[in-house]
C-alpha cells in the first residue's frame, strides 16, 4: 500500500498483492474498421461490486481523430519509481497503432473521468525517429520506452521510441537493432541487466489482415531476442522455429531476482519458457503445447492462436487465451519447467463451446486479459485487431466486443466466469465498438517492473 513516504506502486510484488481491490478499470474501445465514423475512445468501467454502476461504462474519452486503432497502453510511472516521492502514476499513454499518435491521458485529476492531457502526433514521431506503429509501453525510472513495430512507412524491424517524463521525444532508445527482423512486445528485468523482445511482423504485413501464406514466406516472426539493457543492444537471439511461430506477449517473473520468463507463440499455440542456467547461459524450452482442434467447416484443424499471456503477481499462475478456440487457461507454474493445467473457462471462439455467456452473445474469443494484484479477478475482452477480427469473426461488426470477469482460485487453482459481470460493447451509444487492453489505476499484473 502506498504511504506518504513513497512514489508510485509498491515496494515489492508481495506488497502489491496486498493493495486494495481495483474499483475502476480503463479499457480502450475502437471504431476503426467497424464502419462507424467515430473516434476510438478510452472507457472507464466501474468494477466496484458495491457501486450502483457496477459492470458498466461510467465515462468515455474520445480521441481527437478517427482511425487511430487504439490497442495497448501503459503508465507514465510504475513501481520502478516507487522510491521517488516526486513521481505519480497519473498519465496513461494510449497509442494509435495505425495513426502512430500517442495520446497522453490524465487519469489522476479525476480517475472516474480521465481527460486528454497531450497528443504527440504520429507525424512528429516519424519525422524525428523514422518510427511508426507504437505497441508496448514500459516506464523505467524517469524514462518511457515504447516498442515501435515499423519505420515511418511501415517496414520492419522498427525500433524503440524514448520519451522523457515530460512526454517529449528524446529519440531512439536502442543503440542498435542488430539482426532483429521484427518487433512487438518487450519486458525487462533490471537486476539481471536484461531485456527480452518478441516478433509479430512488419506493420505493412499485419495491418491489412492475416495472410497465412506469409508465415511460410518468413513475413512473420519466430525469434526471441535478449538485450543488454544498459548498453541498449541485442546480445543473443533464439530461433524458436516451428515451435515459436509468431511469438507475441513476453512476461518475466514479477520477482525482480528471477531470470525466468515466458512468451506465447500465437500461431504455434505454444508457451515457451526461458531462464538463465547455472552456467550463465540463457536457455529456452516449450512447456505447453495447445493441440489444434477439428472444425466441421475447416479443411485443417483450428490452431488456438494464443493472443496473450499473463503471470499472477506471485508468479504462481500463468494465464493465456486461445482466441480462436475460445478458452482461457490457468496453469500452475510453481515449477516453471513443468506447467500444470489447473483451470479453464470458455467464452465465444470458433468451436461453439460457449456462444453465449451471461445473456450476451460473445463475438470473438477471449483475447486481452488483465489480472487484479491479488490474483483473484481476471478481466477479459474479445477483440484482437480490427482487420483480424473482420477476418475471423466478421459478426463483431454488428455485435461489438464484450468484457467479462473470471474469478480465479488462488489457493487450489480453478476459474469460473462471474455471472454478475458483463459489459456489452454492442450497446455503446455510438454503436457496436470493440474493447481491447485493460489497465487498473493502482497497478496490475502487466504494468509494474521492479528495479
Amino acid at each position: 500500500m502506498d504511504s506518504v513516504c513513497c512514489g508510485p506502486g509498491y515496494a515489492s510484488p508481495t506488497d502489491a498483492m496486498m493493495a486494495p481491490s481495483e474499483k475502476i478499470l480503463y479499457t480502450i474501445a475502437i471504431y476503426t474498421g467497424t464502419g462507424i465514423q467515430k473516434p476510438d475512445y478510452l472507457c472507464t468501467i466501474d468494477s466496484d461490486p458495491e457501486s450502483s454502476s457496477y459492470s458498466s461504462v461510467i465515462s468515455r474519452l474520445e480521441m481527437p481523430g478517427i482511425g487511430d486503432e487504439l490497442h495497448h497502453m501503459g503508465w507514465n510511472a510504475c513501481s520502478s519509481c516507487h522510491g521517488d516521492i516526486e513521481k505519480e502514476r497519473k498519465y496513461l499513454i494510449v497509442p494509435g497503432v495505425r495513426s502512430s499518435n500517442l495520446h497522453i491521458i490524465d487519469c489522476g485529476t479525476d480517475p472516474r473521468k480521465p481527460s486528454l492531457f497531450k497528443v504527440i502526433e504520429g507525424s512528429e514521431i516519424k519525422a524525428k525517429t523514422n518510427l511508426s506503429a507504437p505497441h508496448t509501453i514500459h516506464c523505467l525510472g524517469s524514462d518511457i520506452i515504447i516498442s515501435m513495430l515499423g519505420d515511418a512507412v511501415g517496414n520492419a524491424p522498427g525500433g524503440y521510441l524514448h520519451l522523457n517524463e515530460s512526454f517529449e521525444i528524446v529519440g531512439r532508445w536502442e543503440n542498435s537493432m542488430g539482426d532483429i527482423k521484427f518487433s512487438y512486445d518487450f519486458w525487462y528485468q533490471p537486476r539481471h541487466n536484461i531485456m527480452v523482445s518478441s516478433e509479430w511482423a512488419a506493420p505493412n504485413t499485419f495491418m491489412p489482415g492475416f495472410d497465412l501464406e506469409e508465415v511460410g514466406h518468413l513475413k512473420y516472426g519466430r525469434e526471441l531476442h535478449f538485450w543488454d539493457l544498459e548498453k541498449k543492444i541485442p546480445i543473443q537471439s533464439m530461433y524458436l522455429g516451428e515451435d515459436g511461430l509468431v511469438p507475441l506477449e513476453v512476461r518475466f517473473h514479477h520477482d525482480p531476482d528471477s531470470t525466468h520468463g515466458f512468451v506465447g507463440a500465437a500461431l504455434s499455440a505454444n508457451i515457451i519458457h526461458w531462464w538463465k542456467d547455472s552456467a550463465g547461459e540463457w536457455k529456452w524450452e516449450k512447456i505447453i503445447d495447445v493441440e489444434n482442434e477439428p472444425h466441421p467447416e475447416w479443411p485443417i484443424p483450428v490452431p488456438g492462436v494464443i493472443s496473450v499471456i499473463l503471470l499472477s503477481m506471485d508468479d504462481k499462475y500463468l494465464y493465456f487465451c486461445n482466441w480462436l478456440h475460445g478458452d482461457i487457461r490457468q496453469y500452475d507454474i510453481s515449477d516453471p519447467h513443468n506447467a500444470k493445467l489447473t483451470g479453464q473457462v470458455w467464452m465465444g471462439g470458433l468451436l461453439n463451446k460457449a456462444p453465449e455467456v451471461n445473456g450476451v452473445k460473445v463475438t470473438g474469443g477471449p483475447q486481452m486479459i488483465q489480472l487484479s494484484l491479488d490474483g483473484k479477478r481476471l478481466f477479459v475482452t474479445t477483440s484482437l485487431f480490427s482487420t483480424w477480427d473482420n477476418q475471423f469473426y466478421p459478426e463483431i461488426r454488428t455485435n461489438g466486443g464484450c468484457m467479462l470477469m473470471v474469478n480465479c482460485d488462488t489457493e487450489n487453482g480453478g476459474m469460473e466466469i462471474d455471472p454478475n459481470f458483463i459489459v456489452d460493447f454492442g450497446k455503446e451509444p455510438n454503436g457496436p465498438s470493440r474493447c481491447h487492453e485493460t489497465r487498473y489505476p493502482g497497478g496490475d499484473c502487466t504494468s509494474d517492473i521492479w528495479l
Binding site: 495513426s99 505493412n204 495472410d211 467447416e297
Partner: protein, 122 residues
C-alpha cells in the same frame, strides 16, 4: 487535370478532383466521410472498391493480388488516371476480408513481392 469521381453507394454523387492528389484527400476536402488509418498505403483501413476507371496506386503495400483483382484501391495513396466510379466505406469490404485458413490464397494471389506470376507456373 480534373477527373470525375462517382460514389455509387452514396446515390451516385459526383466530385471533380485533381488527378495529382490522393483520392482520400480530395474526397475528404469535398466533405466525404471516409475511414482511414496510416495514410501511407500500408494499413487497408481506407480501402474502396473501384467499379469503373483506372487509378495509379503503385505506392500501396496493403493489398494482395486477390484484393487487387477484386478491384480494391487504397484511397490514401491512389490517384485517378481516368474518371472513376467507387463504392466506399466498409459496405464495400465484402471481398476484402477472408478467413485465411478456410479460403487460402493461390501463389499468384499473394502480395506482389512474394507472388508467383501466373505465366511462370507449371
Amino acid at each position: 487535370m480534373m477527373r470525375k469521381i462517382t460514389i455509387k453507394n452514396r446515390g451516385n454523387i459526383t466530385y471533380d478532383v485533381d488527378h495529382r492528389k490522393p483520392l482520400l484527400d480530395s474526397l475528404k476536402a469535398n466533405g466525404v466521410d471516409l475511414p482511414y488509418g496510416c495514410k501511407y498505403g500500408g494499413c487497408i483501413t481506407c480501402a474502396a472498391k473501384l467499379i469503373n476507371g483506372r487509378v495509379n496506386q503503385t505506392a500501396q503495400v496493403a493489398l494482395n493480388n486477390r484484393q487487387l483483382n477484386n478491384g480494391y484501391v487504397i484511397l490514401c495513396v491512389a490517384r485517378p488516371l481516368t474518371d472513376c466510379t467507387f463504392e466506399i466505406g466498409v459496405e464495400s469490404h465484402d471481398l476484402l476480408y477472408r478467413n485465411p485458413f478456410t479460403d487460402p490464397l493461390e501463389d499468384h494471389e499473394l502480395k506482389a513481392d512474394i507472388a508467383t506470376p501466373l505465366e511462370n507456373r507449371k
